[in-house]
């Protein structure tokens, strides 16, 4: 584990500062209250120092990447909204959400250092996750753009699926760790695939189906995809059976086709993906504008503040990557993708080094979710896969998403602390050295 990441932290903050300086001095953007910048930088530095103190064996490089991603996100959100009436305060709102997220991360660090305790409450967590998502069907929930994803709790709007999925990863990690030996011990088989006893399989299938079903009816396609794929990957990691993945993919294909037939909005999404050029002013508008803006960036980009991606609807959330590709070019966008990949690499490393199955599966599940979310949205805005509306972790505007991802990072940190502590000193050093070499 890399306990020290002071230089990456400093670089991340310098990049963010440069971004804001460009916008304010070259683009003559009206400066946001500087105190927010101070809050942001101070929060991230305090977070880093806090983790260094309380989790001396944790992998703090994760925090440097979180700082870089949230910083780039803030710069882009500010760039996209500072002159747009009605949303001109979005960047400061996002800064506040980062503050809240940091608080949540510190909360996890301080009170869930023995995260294994969470495993004892796995059924409760699964129930909580399902209830959270189901709450959007109560009068507390409301619809945005045809999808019922939101909860209004007093003054705060929440997207419960962002939190529910972390709870579900904890549930699956815990449950699969407990039962993974039993999954192999089975006699029945279906189409050549050996099936575990219903006793073990049942709870997994139930929670899986319940959460997935709710999301499908919420019309939250992106989250549905995540909720489907992450448990499947965890199942593979736990059992090593490719057959589950294949079976799951087949199920997914059938399920997708069924939703395609049932829901008109899925049909629209698919046709907009297959041929957006046939209707570039209506259903294909978002994706063609995204592609035009990405292409406009070329290799070196149009320059920060010089692009036209504000024409893309929802640009500051789902399509923020298009803006980055447009204004920072292939080079900037590739750098960002590599930053995500490093986060995923470090997450995987934590899973590899963790000692017990539960910790391994937890770190793996969280990392896989983070990786898949990135792949789904970046693939969506680049027309590699059909577009499903989810956020780019840490970069997109969105309070629930930011806080959820900070919690995710917090959990990865406590797992890495646990793993790092149990590492023999020598191996620790070696692993740290290898990691430094990769990130250098």
């Amino acid at each position: 584990m890399a306990q020290r990441a002071s230089i990456p932290m400093a670089l991340a903050l310098i990049i963010t500062t440069l971004g804001f300086a460009t916008l304010i001095f070259v683009q003559e953007a009206k400066s946001p209250p500087l105190i927010y910048g101070a809050y942001y930088a101070g929060t991230m530095v305090l977070l880093y120092l806090g983790v260094r103190v309380w989790l001396p064996h944790a992998d703090t490089l994760l925090l440097a990447i979180v700082t870089l991603l949230t910083g780039i996100g803030l710069v882009m959100i500010y760039r996209l909204t500072y002159e747009v009436p009605g949303v001109e305060n979005l960047a400061t709102t996002q800064a506040i959400w980062i503050l809240v997220g940091s608080g949540a991360l510190m909360f996890v660090v301080l009170f869930f250092r023995n995260y294994q305790k969470l495993f004892a409450y796995k059924y409760l967590l699964a129930l909580a996750a399902v209830v959270l998502v189901a709450m959007t069907f109560t009068p507390l929930g409301y619809e945005v753009n045809g999808a019922r994803l939101w909860l209004k709790l007093g003054p705060v709007n929440l997207q419960p699926s962002e939190f529910a999925r972390i709870a579900l990863v904890v549930f699956f990690a815990s449950y699969l760790a407990d039962t993974r030996d039993l999954w192999a011990a089975t006699s029945r088989s279906f189409m050549g695939v050996q099936l575990p006893a219903l006793k073990y399989f049942g709870p997994v299938a139930l929670v899986w189906a319940a959460s997935l079903g709710l999301l499908v009816f919420e019309k939250d396609l992106g989250s549905s995809l995540l909720f489907f794929a992450v448990p499947l990957l965890m199942l593979y990691a736990a059992t090593g059976r490719m057959a589950y993945v294949i079976l799951g993919t087949l199920l997914f294909a059938v399920g997708s086709y069924a939703t395609y037939l049932i829901f008109p909005h899925v049909q629209t999404r698919v046709s907009a993906w297959l041929d957006p050029w046939s209707d570039p002013d209506d259903t294909g508008f978002q994706i063609t504008q995204s592609i035009f803006n990405i292409a406009d960036g070329g290799i070196t980009g149009a320059g920060l503040g010089e692009g036209f991606s504000q024409t893309i609807p929802e640009v500051q959330t789902d399509f923020i990557f298009s803006t980055i590709a447009s204004e920072l070019g292939l080079l900037g966008a590739t750098a960002l993708i590599l930053a995500f990949l490093i986060f995923v690499y470090r997450g995987m490393k934590i899973a590899l080094l963790a000692q017990d199955d539960g910790s391994k599966l937890l770190a793996f599940g969280l990392t896989a979710m983070f990786a898949l979310q990135t792949l789904i949205i970046v693939g969506g805005v680049t027309k590699a896969i059909p577009l499903t509306g989810i956020t780019l972790p840490f970069v997109s505007y969105g309070g629930s998403s930011v806080v959820g991802n900070f919690i995710l990072t917090g959990l990865l940190l406590v797992v890495s602390e646990n793993a790092g502590k149990q590492q023999p000193a020598e191996e620790d050093k070696e692993a740290g050295y290898a990691a430094e070499k990769v990130t250098a």
């Binding site: 570039p280 406009d296 960036g297 290799i299 320059g303 036209f308 590899l352 027309k383 590699a384």
Partner: protein, 560 residues
């Protein structure tokens, strides 16, 4: 379990790398075709996001084009002076491309050129907005207006006028009529392109017309070079016979024994045909025409200029009938009004043809002078002595014949032309300069199908010279000009403007001038900042044949 974790990580890593590949596909491989996609408005938005430079007239005050900021932050091109300057400014459209100075000086106006000041360099490096540079032209607004009004009031309402300062080559006026309003070009473009009068087409610089008798000054220059004197006597019996082709004088007149001076004053075709064939010869005549700028594309001039031409037959193969026709500007000879103004200018400037210039100064938005082209001799068309002799002959042609071109108090030198053509009545031509002893302005005017030169073109040219000389203090403002009305007036026919009337030429294919025009572009440029799909020196919707009314069959009228 670790093996499974690693495998999953490799899978994720492969996916991330593919994303980079997909990005590279969009941002590099298909980047250009996407930029030109019809539903992609990003390029035109980029063009509209920065103000283009001003285009100013020669007084430094009259704004011919400026960019006005709209509510949505983009800039719209506005042409406060409208139609009279459209032939020069051109139009600027994000849908239909651009023309005129707008495209000819686009590198300066758009601010996309090389950075010239530290400020521009900083802006370019930082990717900041770069306002375009301002361009001051050489045009005299009063003169431009006079030329425009004159052409508007002409009998057919189709024609062109070019005026220049012979001493330094500055273009003082350049008008093509009918013109168009470059404002709101996007809404009007399709109508303009359908208009039978072809207003988008610059008759002054791109229209090729038979120059008729105005070409006689070139033949006369060649004759003087070959030793012919103004006082040399020639006998005219009304015709000049060549094998298979007979030259007649206008209205079959016969003049008897006349001097060469009288031959140019009375514009006697038969004597010019004889002199050209017997004294000048193919080589000297063609070389003299090239020395005056025939065949020149004027590449460095910001507006596209169609080269004037002596026809497709190489001079060494001209038969006697060819050179006879060419000597008085008919047959295969075609020229632009712009070129004939250069001819007048060279004669006015002791035989030295100056580089024609339309741009006086290029300034950065904060006023730093970036470019200030200086005048230079383009080529020596004629030696000084011969030029002055010819200039005297042209002055005498106006003074002796009591021409309506005379301006009291100023000596004018000039030559009319009445050019037979396949489209109807002859084109009315006049080229001149004044004051003849120390010329400050040279003018060429042509009115399509305006009949005799003195009827339509001459009054416009005279009014232009008067206007300019008054503004230069050469003439009293309340000058009483003999019959100096602004509209073309019917005056008694004069000998000085004869019309050639000839038999069919031996090479009838020459009667219809070869068409140096390129086919009109079918695909308007969407983005003027990108390399246009059409060459910039080509106006869209350019007609195939100048002065030819659509629907009218190209009648093979005798050239001559």
């Amino acid at each position: 379990m670790n093996a499974h974790l690693r495998r999953t990580f490799y899978f994720f890593a492969a996916c991330f790398v593919s994303l980079v590949g997909i990005l590279a596909y969009w941002q590099v491989y298909v980047q250009e075709s996407l930029a030109n996609d019809p539903s992609n408005s990003l390029q035109s938005r980029r063009v509209q996001a920065v103000p283009r430079g001003l285009i100013l007239a020669g007084d430094g005050e009259t704004e011919l084009a400026r960019s006005e900021e709209q509510d949505n932050g983009t800039y719209e091109r506005v042409y406060p002076e409208g139609s009279p300057y459209a032939g020069i400014t051109g139009y600027w459209s994000t849908r239909y491309g651009a023309s005129g100075i707008e495209i000819g000086e686009n590198n300066n106006l758009s601010g996309n050129g090389e950075p010239e000041t530290l400020d521009e360099l900083i802006n370019q490096v930082s990717g900041g907005p770069q306002a375009g540079n301002d361009i001051e032209l050489t045009l005299d607004p009063e003169l431009q207006r006079a030329a425009y009004d004159g052409l508007a009031a002409s009998s057919t309402g189709r024609g062109a006028a070019v005026a220049l300062n012979p001493k330094n080559g500055e273009i003082l006026a350049l008008v093509s009529y009918p013109s168009y309003d470059p404002n709101n070009i996007d809404e009007n473009f399709s109508d303009l392109i359908e208009d039978p009068d072809q207003p988008l087409y610059n008759r002054a610089t791109q229209g090729l017309y038979p120059p008729g008798s105005t070409f006689k000054v070139i033949t006369a220059a060649a004759a003087l070079k070959e030793g012919v004197e103004p006082s040399d006597k020639f006998k005219d019996d009304g015709t000049y016979e060549t094998p298979g082709y007979t030259v007649y004088n206008y209205k079959a007149k016969s003049y008897g024994e006349v001097t060469f001076q009288e031959a140019i004053s009375k514009s006697i075709n038969t004597i010019f045909a004889r002199v050209a064939y017997e004294y000048v010869g193919n080589q000297t005549l063609s070389q003299t025409a090239y020395d005056f700028g025939f065949g020149d594309t004027y590449e460095d001039f910001p507006l596209p200029v169609t080269p004037s031409s002596l026809g497709d037959i190489p001079p060494e193969q001209w038969a006697q009938g060819n050179i006879a026709q060419i000597s008085f500007g008919q047959g295969p000879v075609t020229s632009t009004v712009f070129e004939m103004a250069q001819v007048a200018g060279a004669l006015a400037n002791d035989g030295k043809l100056m580089d024609p210039r339309l741009v006086r100064e290029v300034r950065s938005p904060d006023g730093v002078i970036l470019d200030q082209p200086t005048s230079s001799v383009r080529q020596n068309a004629l030696d000084e002595e011969t030029a002055n002799t010819l200039s005297d002959m042209m002055e005498n042609a106006i003074e002796d014949e009591e021409s309506t071109a005379r301006i009291p108090g100023v000596k004018v030198a000039g030559k009319t032309g009445t050019a037979e053509n396949p489209t109807g009545d002859p084109h009315s031509w006049f080229i001149s300069f004044a004051p003849a002893d120390d010329p400050e302005i040279a003018v060429a005017v042509m009115v399509e199908n305006g009949n005799e030169g003195y009827k339509q073109a001459l009054p416009i040219a005279r009014r232009m010279m008067e206007t300019y000389l008054k503004s230069q203090g050469e003439l009293p403002i309340e000058s009483t000009t003999g019959g100096g009305s602004t509209t073309p007036q019917p005056a008694q026919p004069q000998n000085g403007s004869t019309v050639p009337a000839t038999q069919p030429a031996p090479q009838p294919q020459n009667a219809n001038p070869s068409q140096p025009f390129r086919a009109p572009s079918q695909s308007p440029v969407r983005n003027p900042n990108q390399p246009p799909s059409q060459p910039p020196n080509q106006a869209p919707g350019q007609p195939q044949n100048p002065g030819q009314a659509p629907g009218q069959p190209p009648v093979q009228r005798p050239g001559g």
